[in-house]
């Protein structure tokens, strides 16, 4: 295989953190191939190894084993060529990765110089991107006065100044408010679609990767446990049987309904409930649709049941299944509810 055939290739990439008392395998023989122009999500819980993997690709960490290539350049043998081709940024923690005593504009111009971008080109790119991300009014303010969202947008612009072909973005929307997160996501998707940028995007937000990514790798405890499209992940876990119940009811009925559902032996657990306008939506996991649905209908007789239907698992439910975490255990922790 020619390494230039792919934008990013990693082969058996491994990173072990060592101290006096222990070794932690943060990334364990990870092999991935990412095509040019692909929007690739690396999905995993905190501590799964996403950041360590991203940092190795960005040449900020040297692997203990394995090798990786960016557009055919080895992260070990040609780290400078790799850096010329990548734009790298971190989300919330990296919000500090700017000079707070400089203005937004000075930060951009400083990094443009460090990235060897001629001044005129850097200014033009910076202005265009600042306008696009609606940050131009704040550009002369010191970064210390920026909100998290503004800092993340600025870091995103900084990572694009030298027009890299590959973007390595480590949880770029972490800590953003909903509106800013949507804006940043839309922008990133367009970078891939319309500018052909290859994007490696790490996240533990299921919704985000489902919306954005062409392919997803699920990483847990340093190992890739699945690579595929968001749809393939869902299909892989179709054995998770979810029933969605929509009841036109009031909040006062909710506790009673939940108690009735939890008392049914055909229901494994109540996964989720939320109020939607005049309805309550409840998702439960079951062992068998054919016995569960009639039983649910029976105990909810007397309520205004809008629908009881089979449902596809969400990406989050799928991820938990792939990661080998028992869905009941996690949901019990989240909602503080025990299975009856």
């Amino acid at each position: 295989m020619n390494m230039r055939d792919y934008a990013i290739v990693s082969e058996e990439l491994t990173k072990i953190y060592r101290d006096k008392h222990r070794e932690i395998v943060a990334v364990d023989h990870v092999s991935i191939k990412i095509k040019y122009g692909e929007f690739f999500g690396l999905l995993g819980p905190n501590g799964a190894g996403k950041t360590t993997f991203a940092k190795m690709l960005a040449t900020l960490l040297i692997p203990d084993e394995g090798e990786a290539w960016i557009e055919g350049y080895s992260i070990l043998k040609d780290p400078i060529e790799v850096r010329k081709r990548i734009g790298w940024m971190m989300g919330e923690t990296g919000g500090r990765a700017l000079y707070w005593r400089l203005s937004g504009w000075d930060n951009l111009m400083f990094f443009a110089s460090i990235l060897n971008v001629p001044r005129k080109i850097a200014e033009k790119r910076a202005r265009t991107l600042l306008r696009f991300l609606e940050l131009e009014d704040a550009v002369d303010k010191l970064v210390m006065n920026y909100s998290t969202g503004m800092r993340i947008k600025l870091m995103l612009i900084r990572s694009l100044l030298h027009n890299p072909d590959v973007l390595i973005l480590d949880e770029p929307t972490l800590g953003l408010d909903v509106e800013s997160a949507i804006k940043v996501r839309n922008f990133l998707r367009r970078l891939a679609d319309e500018l052909g940028k290859t994007i490696l995007f790490t996240s533990h937000n299921m919704y985000e990767v489902e919306q954005l990514c062409d392919r997803i790798a699920v990483i847990n405890k340093g190992r890739i446990i699945f690579i595929g499209t968001p749809r393939e992940i869902k299909e892989k876990v179709e054995e998770i049987k979810i029933v969605e119940i929509i009841v036109a009811s009031t909040d006062s009925d909710l506790k009673e309904i939940l108690n009735k559902l939890e008392s049914l032996s055909v229901i494994n657990t109540v996964l989720f409930h939320e109020r939607e306008a005049k309805n309550i939506k409840i998702r439960v996991s079951v062992n068998d649709y054919y016995t569960a649905i009639p039983e649910i209908a029976r105990v909810l007789r007397g309520y205004k049941v809008e629908s009881i239907s089979r449902a596809l698992p969400t990406l989050e439910e799928a991820f938990l299944k792939i990661a080998g975490v028992k869905i009941e255990e996690t949901e019990t922790r989240r909602f503080g509810r025990r299975r009856l």
Partner: protein, 294 residues
């Protein structure tokens, strides 16, 4: 508001700067934006000026207690204020050369900016480090000039010859470069050994003590081990050359000057060694994951 087509348009241009010009631009950016950060703390320079003025006044009055005959007996000028201010002026370069880079590294690592720089680094931090050395030199030079001007105004007998001032500048540059090598080395070591910063404060104090900033080095003749330690420190020779130039107007061809100059030149490879050591520790940090501390 820009459209995506505007963005596509601005990304068409792909030319980048290369070679020496790019290196100079990166180094100057490192220096210039550091100066901007420094000046964003508006009281900084005023406080530094007050500090220098108070030091100058302290040694001006101490000068009345020092006997000119004793100074002459020890082989120096009888003018203590000139002697002390020359020492203080040059010692300002020592902190910025030896300890400031490690201090700067602490800020960069804790702020997370060091990782951003590392992801954009095209030359093992050479340009960035040279920019920081230039910044330190610029800052120290402004303090240096103020100290010398204060000296003149307090009646210090510094040379008024342009030739000897040019010689003095050459000596300052050589001394700063050698100590910057130690500073770059220390900055690299700091990335891995975070406790080093405290030791550097001690090192600067030791250098200043053995360099004879405030007392004639010949006083150490009575304590041979201390004298030999002093002779192993490059700053000692830099300061001797500097004092003999701006106070005694000795040319570099004078045997006493040549001896110190040769010893100082022996330390010159320190600057190259500094960058090697920095790279070694940078790679070590990349192996152990110490580039950032959130």
């Amino acid at each position: 508001m820009s459209s995506i087509s505007d963005i596509i348009e601005v990304f068409r241009a792909r030319e980048k700067e290369h070679g020496f010009h790019a290196f100079i631009r990166r180094a100057l950016a490192s220096c210039f934006y550091q100066l901007k950060i420094y000046t964003s703390y508006r009281m900084n320079f005023a406080l530094d000026l007050i500090d220098i003025t108070i030091s100058a006044l302290i040694y001006y009055y101490i000068g009345f207690l020092v006997s000119p005959q004793d100074l002459m007996r020890l082989g120096y000028t009888p003018d203590y204020i000139a002697f002390a201010l020359a020492g203080i002026a040059l010692s300002r370069y020592i902190w910025t050369s030896v300890a400031r880079l490690a201090h700067k590294m602490r800020h960069e690592i804790s702020a997370g900016t060091f990782e951003s720089l590392a992801a954009a680094d095209f030359d093992d931090f050479h340009a960035w480090l040279w920019g920081q050395i230039l910044y330190g030199f610029t800052w120290s030079s402004s303090v240096f000039f103020v100290t010398i001007l204060l000296g003149y105004s307090l009646g210090a007998s510094f040379t008024r010859s342009l030739v000897f001032w040019l010689q003095a500048i050459l000596i300052v540059l050589l001394t700063v470069l050698i100590h910057a090598g130690i500073g770059v080395m220390a900055a690299g070591m700091y990335i891995v050994h975070k406790q080093l910063e405290t030791l550097l404060v001690l090192l600067v104090a030791v250098i200043e003590f053995f360099g004879g900033v405030l007392y004639p080095l010949s006083l150490l003749w009575n304590y041979p081990p201390l004298y030999y330690i002093a002779m192993l420190i490059p700053f000692t020779h830099g300061l001797e050359l500097f004092r003999r130039t701006i106070i005694d107007e000795l040319p570099l061809t004078h045997p006493l000057m040549l001896r110190h100059l040769i010893i100082l030149l022996v330390f010159f490879p320190t600057i190259f060694l500094g960058f090697k050591v920095f790279k070694h520790y940078l790679n070590k940090a990349k192996k152990t994951g110490l580039l950032a501390a959130y």
